[in-house]
Amino acid sequence: MGPVTHELAAAPEADVRAISVYIVSLMPRSSEPTADQEQAAERSHPQGAVLFAGACATCHSPGASMMNEGRPDLTLGTPLHEANPRDTIQIILQGLRSPTGRSGPTMPAYAGAFTDAQIGEIAAYLRARYTRDAPWSGDLAREAGAARREGLS
């Protein structure tokens, strides 16, 4: 997806607006306001909150260096709003690498750092904190285990 958005940066503004309107029409829920529901999420997912504080907050919390550079807040993170947690879990497991020779988002991979249960806790916490969508159904630890196997080539 990175190369697509990079190339589209050169498209005429009218085209960018037209594409945006079309995509938003496919995502009715995306117009709902979202907010950082930190305290409610901490109450419902205390373990996820602790793991987030020690692993993710250094970049993703208000006031973190990444946020001060104008990078998007996790409320705008598309994977957190998806119907299933697979993309979120894969990003936690594998991280993000910027393209070779270009600057871009970077995130460390947590596959070796967290157990399946811990990945599940973090995913549930992120969904509760940064979206107003229903919690992901199913056993997220099991999803993390499946995603881990899929991610191994």
């Binding site: 602790v50 260096s65 995130m107 070796g112 157990t115």
Partner: protein
């Protein structure tokens, strides 16, 4: 909060904030100073240690994640008078210049060679790539990993250069 973990083969207990990064607990509570603070963002690799045998960035790993797990630092690879094979190889090849990245590099080499002591050159470079070295001793670090692989009963399959003789004192970096 109190949590139990295994640290360099010994049972240890951590008392403190569960969100404390492992790196801070290692350096401040357990007084193990091999792992270094570099960027604090999981991007430079100076803080790399092993958790259950896998190389991780300890600066972005909270203690809460470590209950019942096994952590290994460069102190756990050997001691000055009886260095482990990875430590001995890094010393023999004089792989350190400033040395700040070296504990992390050694832990990545250890994780790789424990899993696979006959890696390809590409596998070695991929395993080490999350650790950054700004001095530029990469070629010496790679030589050290090739030497360590041999010492651990294997060897790099397609070494980019043959294993040379161990540098003499006069050839060593100042």
């Amino acid at each position: 909060v109190s949590l139990a973990l295994t640290l360099n083969g010994r049972p240890r207990t951590f008392d403190g904030e569960p969100s404390t990064p492992l790196l801070y607990a290692l350096r401040n509570d357990f007084e193990l100073n091999a792992a270094k603070f570099g960027c604090g963002l999981g991007q430079c690799g100076a803080c790399t240690v092993l958790v259950d045998g896998r190389a991780v960035f300890s600066c972005v790993l909270p203690m809460a994640a470590l209950a019942g797990r096994s952590v290994r630092t460069a102190e756990g690879l050997g001691a000055p008078d009886r260095p482990g094979p990875v430590q001995a190889a890094f010393e023999q090849e004089q792989a350190a210049q400033c040395g700040y990245c070296i504990p992390g590099m050694m832990m990545r080499a250890q994780a790789l060679l424990e899993r696979n002591n006959r890696p390809t050159e590409t596998e070695v470079r991929e395993a080490l790539s999350p650790s950054l070295c700004r001095c530029g001793t990469h070629m010496r670090i790679l030589r050290a990993v090739r030497r360590a692989a041999l010492a651990m009963g294997g060897g790099v399959r397609d070494p980019a250069e043959p294993l040379g003789s161990i540098p003499t004192a006069s050839e060593r970096l100042p």
